[in-house]
């Protein structure tokens, strides 16, 4: 194996990792917000909201992320590619997160909603104080999984030219004519990111379990 390119090109991997983390972090934030809204829409009694959420989730989950990325990038003119990447990833992950949250909320005992409402608590307050905190325990493991998937899937934004870890790895391969070894480095970096995240989430989960 020939890693002689590293001293000259290591900065490509570092800055690429930076972009990958940046895009993933923003996607987590927007995906969570979008997912929460969609989950509440899907569980609401309003038929219009409900049908929209159902259609959105089914469509996004039923089409490739690559196409969604192209549609956002080429469909909206003058959109900076970084924004296109984050938007497409967020649109995509919101659909998956919505299903995770909905399932988590659905697993909370129906009596909890009834008890809170019978005390006079409005719907929103009931979700905030009673339903969501309990649903979090069901949601967190699946959500952690989704975040890990998201870091890996973010490699796809390299196709529209964002200088993420995948893109920069290809740059190094092109410049050095070394086809294999840069991929090993990239794979190792992705693994360190996802492994660290999964250990961190495991810790959070254990702490939540202690508190009940």
């Amino acid at each position: 194996m020939n890693f002689s390119f590293l001293p000259k090109y290591y900065q490509f991997f570092i800055s690429g990792t930076g972009y990958t983390l940046f895009i993933s972090a923003l996607t987590v934030v927007f995906g969570l917000m979008g997912g929460l809204v969609l989950a509440l829409m899907k569980t609401s009694k309003n038929k219009v909201l409900k049908s929209f959420a159902v259609a959105y989730i089914e469509f996004i989950r039923g089409t490739p992320l690559l196409i969604q990325l192209y549609i956002v990038y080429y469909g909206i003119s003058d959109l900076p590619m970084l924004a296109a990447g984050v938007i497409a990833m967020s649109i995509n992950s919101a659909a998956y997160i919505a299903e995770i949250i909905r399932a988590g909320i659905g697993a909370v005992d129906k009596g909890q909603m009834e008890a809170a409402r019978s005390l006079g608590m409005p719907v929103f307050l009931t979700y905030k104080e009673i339903i969501i905190p309990q649903a979090m325990k069901n949601i967190l493991p699946a959500l952690g999984n989704e975040f890990i998937v998201l870091i890996k899937e973010s490699a796809i934004v390299s196709v529209i030219g964002i200088h993420d870890l995948m893109y920069n790895t290809d740059t190094v391969r092109g410049n050095t004519f070394i086809a294999f070894e840069p991929l090993v480095i990239a794979a190792l970096i992705y693994f360190v990111l996802t492994f660290t995240l999964s250990k961190l989430l495991g810790k959070v989960e254990r702490r939540m379990r202690v508190s009940d």
């Binding site: 005992d109 009596g111 909890q112 009834e114 008890a115 809170a116 409402r117 019978s118 005390l119 006079g120 608590m121 409005p122 307050l125 104080e129 009673i130 905190p133 309990q134 508190s211 009940d212």
Partner: protein
């Protein structure tokens, strides 16, 4: 205080309540008995609109709860409810279960809410469980906390939906004692229960329901001692 007017409720094709009317006055203790599936729990759950009636009206303190434009949350604050399955909030401590609604809905200062909560805990004899979590309590203790939680909103009426049905026999007494105390202190109560002895002791009026209708109404002496309807007689002969 509560007026039930021609109430009907259907789940799909199944008619659970048929044209039920009744009036409950302040300070009265009304016990609803009847075989399972007779609609007694559904009737109770219609009183605070946990079930949406299909037809008819509920008038509570002059306001029509079945009016779709009404802010039901405001009225529910005045109607306490206790469930068969307790439904305590498992992620909150006992004192937080009790003070949550007063803090968030009545916006009581924390000190005041805590003091009131502790007074309620004392009245149900569970001050030592103040900081415990629901999963550390026995069934009877859970239900006593659930009663305290409902009382914390200082409701005008309390609804009890088979409050002792999920309890081990030796814990039924402690919950009934608290309910008796409430009745003695003048609380308006509507109780669905299978505890006939309790009904006899505290009820001002007993309603016997069957197949979605109120079949017979009477004082405990009348209904238990000398039931007039055949269906009441046959039901009582099975449970007494």
């Amino acid at each position: 205080m509560i007026e039930i007017k021609n109430l009907g409720k259907s789940f799909g094709k199944l008619e659970v309540l048929k044209n039920v009317s009744h009036t409950i006055k302040q300070g009265e203790v009304v016990v609803i008995i009847g075989p399972s599936g007779s609609g007694k729990s559904t009737l109770l759950r219609c009183l605070n609109m946990l079930e949406q009636p299909t037809s008819g009206q509920i008038i509570f303190e002059g306001d029509c709860l079945t009016d779709p434009a009404i802010d039901i949350d405001v009225h529910r604050q005045k109607i306490g409810m206790v469930f068969q399955q307790f439904n305590l909030f498992p992620h909150k401590s006992v004192i937080d279960n009790i003070t949550l609604a007063p803090l968030k809905l009545k916006r009581l200062p924390k000190m005041v809410a805590m003091e009131k909560g502790e007074a309620l805990l004392k009245s149900v004899g569970l001050m030592d469980k103040r900081d415990a979590y629901p999963n550390q309590l026995s069934g009877g203790q859970k239900q006593r906390i659930a009663i305290a939680r409902a009382l914390a909103m200082e409701p005008d009426v309390m609804l009890f939906d088979e409050p002792t049905s999920a309890l081990d026999p030796e814990m039924v007494g402690e919950v009934l004692d608290i309910m008796k105390n409430l009745a003695k202190n003048g609380m308006t109560m509507v109780i669905v229960t299978h505890e006939m002895g309790f009904a006899r002791e505290v009820a001002d009026r007993v309603l016997f329901m069957d197949e979605g209708q109120i079949v017979e109404i009477g004082t405990p002496e009348e209904l238990f001692g000398n039931p007039k309807e055949v269906r009441t007689q046959s039901f009582l002969s099975k449970v007494l």
